[in-house]
Symmetry: C2
Subunit: 183 residues, 2 copies
DNA sequence: CAAAGCATGTAAGCAGTTACATGATTGT
DNA sequence: ACAATCATGTAACTGCTTACATGCTTTG
């Protein structure tokens, strides 16, 4: 699995330029590659070299030529093959949990302020996700099946952040009960 | 965050060889680097070069020399600095969800068998995690605080897989309701 | 006699991130 | 005047994964 498959996925809707794809990735909750603008252009060049996307160059006056990418049959086959591939388990690597696992070197107060900081970023993320999910995705009207699947995926993502927040809050309470602050 | 911090974490318990660290990573649910045996040896060399771990070479007859690594004050400082660093949000990149998002090219039956395959691997993973969590970690007896934190982290991991399984099952049901199979 | 355990590493490659680089047009 | 939008890319780096490489000892 790499960003190239997701690019093929978007192109299976309709042709896009690299710039448009960049925005699609940035706007979607579920495809949160961070350093996209770079990776997308590179991936498109690769995909084109491999014959999995076609390129239509549209010269513009005084602006760089738009390169509109579409998905030819070979690309659709590659996409389909990937869709049918063995599902991978989610990674679930939470770097904060690893940080926490070694927090024995911190005092109770330091640990609590670390947890508080995590709670703050989680809260912000949860709010942002919920807001974006509420506004709905900018996806073109597709089949009821696809709409259902996409909604479920987005809901799961929001739910995951909310679960992490609940977990964190309950952990903080248990820690407080374990060693109550001298007040 | 990288594997080097987790190595420093383990060494903060007591000295270990690369081989032992490899097993610790392999045995723990929460630190699931896959290609460790390689990365660990390389990271130890780096850490040693940077003065963050110390190395005691113990020659053996007819076996490669054991290299026992310990954590000097500089390493403890680095560990502490990392512990106090800004918490990172969990990544939540689920490559199966991305696969699913583009499954429009699949028939109802193909989609369902994909979901079924995912359910199988998730079930296996959940069982494996639960079993391992039940057996408890091989960690040396530490403070009540550390024990609580470690248990919570492991429980969260199992819970995450279980949630994913619940989510998947409910999605399958909804999809079945949407387009009932011609039986 | 084969498999698992002990014990170390190297090399090649991929995916993703950050930073750098250019430059016109449109909106506030 | 400044920021945002349009539009493309390159280079360097980090972290992780896969495959390769060696060789002895203990257990089944």
């Amino acid at each position: 699995m790499s960003i190239r498959h997701a690019i093929l996925g978007f192109l299976s809707w309709k042709p896009f330029t690299g710039y448009e794809l960049k925005k699609l990735f940035a706007d979607s909750l579920s495809f949160h590659w961070t350093g996209n603008n770079n990776q997308i252009y590179g991936s498109l060049i690769q995909l084109h070299r491999d014959g999995l996307v076609s390129q239509e160059v549209q010269p513009q006056e005084k602006l760089p030529a738009r390169k509109l990418y579409a998905i030819p049959p070979a690309g659709r086959e590659e996409l389909r093959a990937w869709l049918l591939a063995e599902p991978e388990l989610p990674q679930l690597r939470n770097s904060f949990h690893i940080q926490l696992a070694w927090a024995e070197a911190l005092s109770d107060r330091e640990l609590d302020s670390l947890l508080e900081a995590y709670e703050r970023v989680l809260e912000a993320q949860t709010l942002m996700c919920r807001e974006r999910a509420r506004r709905g995705l900018a996806a073109p009207g597709r089949s009821p099946r696809e709409i259902l699947v996409w909604r479920r995926i987005e809901e799961k993502r929001v739910g995951d952040y909310e679960d992490e927040l609940d977990w964190l809050r309950s952990l903080r309470e248990d820690l407080k009960a374990l060693s109550p602050e001298p007040s």
